[in-house]
Homo-oligomer: 491 residues x 2
């Protein structure tokens, strides 16, 4: 494509400016947990979109915390793509960073000649700015975009995208005009292997609390002397007994009635994709190395002593889990304070899969507690959203595969329900994939970054060779994003 070649050349020629624009977006804090700089960042993006020629940009009123930037760009094209982005970032612990987290410094970090260090560098303000650079490059080098765009940039992804469902309802008529959703993020891992983001598993995060006040037994308002256990009931022991009814002795099977009833994964096709891949992708079972995971996590074995890549992948992608994330109660300091606690709390993160339903699972937990005599135990939903089942053959995803193939990048496609390496961002795919929009979706591009949520978060600016091929720098990120638009326009 002649046009795309011109775009690539334009990117190469303006790379220094583009790096500066990426830096500028990252330099603007936007911490959704604390509110630091969020509004300023939203305004900055609104101006940016207006400057790029969007016909309409607004800060949509969020249901909970921060505005969602809605923008429309009309290229007079046949197809329209929603560009989903998140402009909020996680809090920083400045003392743990090698450089100020909002300075966005570009430094050498072997094996990379240049990386940009900063909060949001990879998750996901770096790729977001790269997309806007690519957008501008197409305008300037090719005259006009091959597709119309609708921008949806939310500021609450790190808080669970809680305002998105209402936004989708409010903007349904406008969003319905789109033919697909594209999430411009970097897909390459440290080995250079790319993995597109498709659907996601469902997440439910709950808290359970047993306390004497609700129970009506044992100490009710404060912990009392531990010697009083001789005459008092213990809410702490009750919590232990209650928890132990939830899972099997090995901790791996959920013992709640009907928990596994509605599961429809893996399908035959899911398993075939794992084993055989699709198009020129590498089958996941070929590139999945359990030993690397063991070394990274410092584990000696997987549950059920799984050893075969396919079996491990199957659990990672298609199983539901009921995790005990944290528990606390009573005296947790040094020494031997004797205390009969009046309450114990535990946190639990549940991962679920199609077609389990988040509300139904929540009800089943409640019903289990009630049935086992724990009506008094408090069950609180802290966060959660449903799974998103995304067809890996959809036109946005196919466009992304086109790009990987065009650039000679090795890639693998996981069946679309989970995020098995836990290193690329989870995202609220369900708001687009589910009712009422039911749009095809894909996320990804060339490029690599890491340490999302951690100190020294980075994105690679200048790439290098790696185990599975070349890791692209910022120019590759932008070129591949531009290319996705062209491929999508032609499908």
């Amino acid at each position: 494509m002649e046009e795309l070649e011109r775009v690539y050349r334009h990117i190469d020629e303006h790379l220094d400016e583009h790096i500066e624009r990426v830096r500028r977006l990252i330099q603007q804090p936007s911490v959704s947990q604390t509110g630091e700089g969020v509004i300023e960042c939203a305004e900055m993006l609104k101006d940016w979109l207006l400057n790029l020629g969007c016909s309409h940009v607004e800060l949509a009123e969020p249901e909970y915390f921060w505005p969602i930037i809605y923008g429309e760009y009309n290229a007079g094209a046949e197809k329209t793509l929603i560009i989903y982005g998140m402009y909020d970032v996680q809090p920083v612990e400045p003392e743990l960073w090698d450089y100020p987290p909002f300075e966005a410094r570009v430094v050498e970090r072997p094996p990379f000649k240049r990386v940009l260090i900063g909060r949001g560098a990879i998750n996901t303000k770096g790729p977001m700015a790269a997309f806007l650079n690519a957008f501008e490059s197409i305008q300037q080098a090719a005259g006009e975009l091959p597709v119309n765009l609708i921008f949806v940039f939310e500021g609450e992804e790190e808080r669970g995208s809680v305002s998105m469902p209402k936004f989708i309802r409010d903007y349904e008529q406008r969003l319905k005009r789109a033919d697909g959703v594209y999430f411009p993020i970097c897909s390459q891992d440290r080995n250079g292997l790319a993995r597109p983001s498709l659907g996601s598993e469902g997440i439910l995060y709950i808290e359970l609390e047993t306390n004497g006040s609700l129970w009506g037994r044992g100490p009710t308002q404060f912990g009392v002397h531990g010697g009083l256990k001789r005459i008092l009931d213990s809410p702490a022991w009750r919590h232990i007994k209650m928890l132990s009814t939830l899972v099997s002795d090995d901790g791996n099977k959920v013992e709640i009635e009907g928990w596994y009833d509605d599961i429809v994964v893996p399908t035959e096709e899911d398993l075939r994709l794992l084993r055989e891949g699709y198009r020129k992708s590498t089958p996941a079972v070929e590139v999945f190395d359990p030993e690397i995971l063991k070394e990274m996590l410092k584990v000696k074995c997987f549950k059920y002593d799984l050893e075969k890549p396919e079996d491990i992948l199957r659990e990672m992608l298609f199983s539901t889990s009921f995790n005990l994330d944290g528990i606390w109660g009573g005296w947790t300091g040094p020494g031997t304070k004797t205390l009969l606690p009046h309450k114990v709390v535990s946190k639990h993160n549940i991962r679920f899969v199609p077609k389990q339903d988040i509300d139904d699972l929540f009800r089943k937990i409640r019903a289990h507690l009630d049935k086992h005599g724990y009506k008094d135990v408090a069950l609180r939903k802290l966060a959660g959203y449903p799974w998103a089942l995304v067809d890996y053959k959809n036109p946005v995803a196919e466009s992304l595969y086109d790009v990987f193939e065009e650039f000679g990048v090795k890639y693998t496609i996981y069946p679309p329900v989970a995020n098995p390496t836990l290193t690329s961002p989870a995202w609220p795919a369900y708001v687009f994939a589910g009712e009422p929009l039911k749009l095809p979706i894909a996320g990804g591009a060339l490029g690599h970054g890491g340490l999302a949520h951690s100190p020294n978060e980075y994105i690679v600016i200048e790439g290098c060779e790696a185990k599975y091929g070349y890791i692209y720098g910022l120019d590759g990120v932008e070129k591949s994003m531009a290319s996705v638009l062209y491929h999508f326009a032609q499908r």
Copy 2:
């Protein structure tokens, strides 16, 4: 007794000096956990004993932390009494006190006209100084003491009296000459009712830890992303399952094999004492008011819905308990961090009764864990000592009853294994009551104080009327202690 009358008069006439001496001892910090002032306090007491005419005083080398002050006073009397005392105190949180904790200020605290506020005021440097005042008053008013004394003042009571067993072995020949042990502390509660200290229950404090490193499964060195529960075992769930095997569903019965085998309490005599009292004491069942306990602890009911005073007392005094004092692991902060913890720890305080054996119980816990497949779970003993069975008819105790009757104080005697209100100090009675000394023991005197271990710890300096009779001030404390020595000499 003419002599004792002179002693009482001497105490009345020198009360202001005596208060100052009590203050001076409390003003000297002696925090055994931190070491603050402990040696200085030991030296101060050594000098005090030498000044009182002890023929031999030494700071016995402790096995663990702080010296035990050993002193001998020879009155040329027929009988010898060991005076046990503890000169160490709990740490302070100065910001929570109304007055500096080591100032020992004397203030009005209704209903008391004068109380002394300070760390150690009641537990137990206040009563210890009062005893030394009484000792001196006898010398000065009566010429000589009616009994020989051996002083054993330890500096590690708040750390579990860990050096005492070795001290007893080292000093066995000298301690064997004694006819009994007296612990000079105040016995009256807020209602004016007195309760002598006799034996004590046994205590075992343990920690249990499940971790992936010992188990060889799940995350071993650090918590990993909670989503990995899909492929990894969970040490946290394992800890819950392990704990749930330890007690019955209601949390009240210990499910460890042989746990209840060796229990010999309550005897018929124990129960008769509860119901009928002894000498002029008031039977415990008559003065025990479950409603006061409910109000104080903010509980609605006791375990098994016990309502009758005798049944509640029976559990408080004669039952063994396995308490869950605290538990922690994983993410315990706000929000929804998803984490698969690599370990969970819980603390447990076990109360046991004659003739359960502390080492045997520890072994039974280990055996239970092993038998149920939890060989990898770490079991640590943090503290503990055996029960002490003390005959309530022994001559030291009888001397104390004599004093209560002489002063017209209402008193009640609990069977000698436990400390049911948990407000008077537990103490290592076992080192004297058990092998090799097997001495008769009692602790107590007139007087009242409270808030041991807490801010604003106090001892009453000037008494007042209360529900069950007069609460004595410092003069009464000293007089009653002097009187105990005379009554003991005559028995």
